[in-house]
């Protein structure tokens, strides 16, 4: 299996406001010395609590921000060493799905326009081709091609996330970064979106970076998992191994369930047919 994404020794710190006028600027080490690899067709879960650095990791992988140290290689290219025009060409190969489907679509554009936006970078694609690709992408995510003319506010939250996924796959990327893709949705909708992501991954052989605070979702969706805590990857490995035999105390504390009485509640839950 070919490696699609690899990080080696990636660190990023952000300055905080000064406490005193001419005092030193305190820094927040959002990410320190993170290394990981992700291959085609594989889903890697990044799990951690708020402030653990998982969103910083996503920003760096997407090239929205540059690391202070380390290398990020996407599809064999160091994205921070690449000249701008070449990075622009490479971008079709890695896309992102955001957490909040209300914020990730421009409210003033029909969704078809937003889905087509990633295609604008490729001068080889003319308008009819773009339209065809948008229609295909809409069908792939379970919407109708005619839905492309609608505006975001005309969709429900779940449908909007489908639109966002359509934009994520329209360039036929090799890597999809999904940052909490279902946590803004109602529980009853989450399954639909996760199943859709699984289907697309199988069809397209996508590598997926699945970022979530929700261990159950990660356990379900991912092949491997990296646990983050205070900017560090504290543990990583196959999901079954990490979650059933956690080595790090932090992972164990995340997995800790309510003790005593409620344990039997859980048992009953699991007996549900």
């Amino acid at each position: 299996m070919s490696v699609v994404l690899s990080l080696s020794g990636v660190s990023r710190a952000y300055p905080l406001p000064r406490r005193r006028l001419l005092g030193p600027r305190p820094m927040l080490q959002a990410l320190s010395d993170a290394s990981l690899t992700l291959s085609a067709g594989e889903t890697l879960g990044i799990v951690g609590e708020s402030g653990s650095g998982k969103s910083t990791l996503a920003r760096l992988v997407m090239g929205f921000d540059r690391p202070d140290a380390g290398r990020i290689t996407v599809l064999g290219q160091d994205i921070n060493a690449l000249p701008a025009p070449e990075l622009r060409r490479l971008r079709a190969g890695f896309q992102m799905v955001f957490q909040d489907p209300f914020g990730s679509l421009d409210p003033r554009r029909p969704v078809g326009w937003s889905i087509a936006e990633p295609l604008l970078a490729d001068p080889a694609l003319d308008a009819p081709t773009r339209r065809k690709r948008v229609a295909e992408a809409l069908e792939q995510v379970g919407l109708r091609p005619a839905d492309g003319a609608k505006f975001p506010h005309q969709f429900s939250g779940g449908q909007r996330q489908r639109v966002a996924i359509a934009r994520g796959i329209v360039t036929r990327p090799r890597l999809l970064v999904a940052d909490e893709p279902v946590s803004a949705l109602d529980v009853s909708m989450q399954g639909q979106i996760l199943n859709l992501l699984s289907d697309l991954q199988a069809q397209m052989g996508l590598a997926m970076l699945f970022i979530s605070h929700d261990l159950a979702l990660v356990a379900h969706q991912c092949d491997r998992v990296a646990v983050m805590h205070r900017g560090r990857i504290v543990e990583s490995g196959p999901v079954a191994q990490v979650f059933s035999h956690p080595r790090e105390s932090y992972t164990r504390s995340l997995l800790a369930r309510p003790e005593t009485k409620s344990a039997d509640n859980r048992e009953l839950v699991n007996n549900t047919p």
Binding site: V187, S188, M189, G191, V239, A240, F243, R266
Partner: protein, 328 residues
């Protein structure tokens, strides 16, 4: 203690809560579960007489024998904090940023219990100890922004407890918090309810949290209470198709469900479609249109409540699911 009968709350003629009836006995821990827009939050506000001004309220809310549904605001005000108090979702924005923690907790006591400054402060410190905040003396003089998220939620709980209410309503109190902090807040709420013999209405979309805290739960969908029963029983053996769908939509984190490396990913169950807008809800069963076992009559006819078993379980469905095979 609380007796709610046929409580309806409507906006522009659309019922956001449709003739809800339930009791809250002293010391009971009741879960109110549902997704966004199911009516759980405005039901909670109605328990304090704080439904939005644009809502039309009908039905009956009886508190200790006193009918309150149409009670004047002045009477409600005297009940708040002393009989019923509320904890909200977002602990930072729920606390006045310009007031010190001690003053926030002391204000209701000075107003309702007529305590003087010194006595109110002493009580506030005791309350901080009770809700598990270390170094309470120092915290009294701090501002909300100087506390962590979990501590803010504890301060909010302390303020709610200040006048010894008989009922605490907690609306998604842990949604804004990280998992391990949330767990401790849940345990705190449960402990407080037990030690104070105080009823707790716990509102959440999170079944695990509800299972952790409550004894009995109500499931709401589209303004209807679709199912109720003892929490453990109901989660183990849901009879309403919506409840079942909701339970199964969550993947379970459990050694048994973890796949071996390379094993195919199981599909997640999910409820088809999405929750309709208030104005587009079906007239009959609210779940019509998304229900896997729907019958032709469902969309037009509102099912009556069926009592299952020895009277503890109730479900509002024309054709409730059969009992699951519960191991002996």
């Amino acid at each position: 203690m609380y007796k709610i009968r046929n409580l309806s709350l409507s906006f522009d003629g659309h019922e956001a809560v449709r003739s809800a009836s339930f009791d809250i006995p002293r010391g009971a821990r009741l879960g109110l579960v549902g997704e966004s827009g199911c009516g759980k939050s405005i039901t909670a506000l109605a328990l304090l007489g704080m439904a939005p001004a644009s809502a039309r309220v009908s039905g009956s809310i009886e508190i200790d024998g006193q009918e309150m549904a149409a009670a004047p605001e002045r009477l409600w005000r005297s009940y708040r904090a002393r009989k019923v108090a509320m904890v909200f979702q977002e602990p930072l924005s729920a606390l006045n940023p310009l007031k010190r923690v001690g003053d926030i907790i002391a204000e209701p006591m000075r107003l309702h219990l007529r305590l003087d400054r010194r006595a109110a402060r002493a009580r506030a410190r005791d309350l901080l100890v009770e809700v598990g905040i270390p170094d309470p003396e120092a915290r009294l003089d701090q501002y909300p922004h100087q506390l962590s998220g979990g501590q803010r939620q504890r301060v909010l709980i302390a303020a709610a407890l200040s006048c010894d209410p008989q009922l605490l309503v907690a609306d998604e109190p842990t949604t804004a918090l990280d998992a391990h902090v949330a767990g401790r807040i849940l345990d705190l709420l449960k402990r407080l309810s037990e030690t104070r013999d105080m009823a707790l209405v716990f509102i959440s979309h999170d079944l695990e949290a509800v299972a952790r805290v409550t004894e009995e739960m109500l499931v709401m969908y589209g303004g209807d209470i679709v199912e109720r029963g003892p929490t453990a029983q109901l989660l183990a053996d849901p009879r309403h198709p919506y409840t079942k769908g909701l339970i199964e939509a969550r993947p379970r984190l459990d050694a048994l469900t973890l796949r071996a490396d390379g094993a195919p990913r199981p599909r997640l169950a999910s409820i088809p479609g999405s929750v309709p807008a208030l104005a587009d809800l079906p007239k009959g069963c609210r779940f019509a249109g998304r229900c896997p076992i729907e019958r032709p009559a469902c969309a037009g006819l509102r099912p009556a409540v069926s009592v299952l078993g020895p009277g503890q379980r109730q479900v509002r469905c024309l054709a409730p699911l059969l009992p699951a095979k519960v191991p002996a």
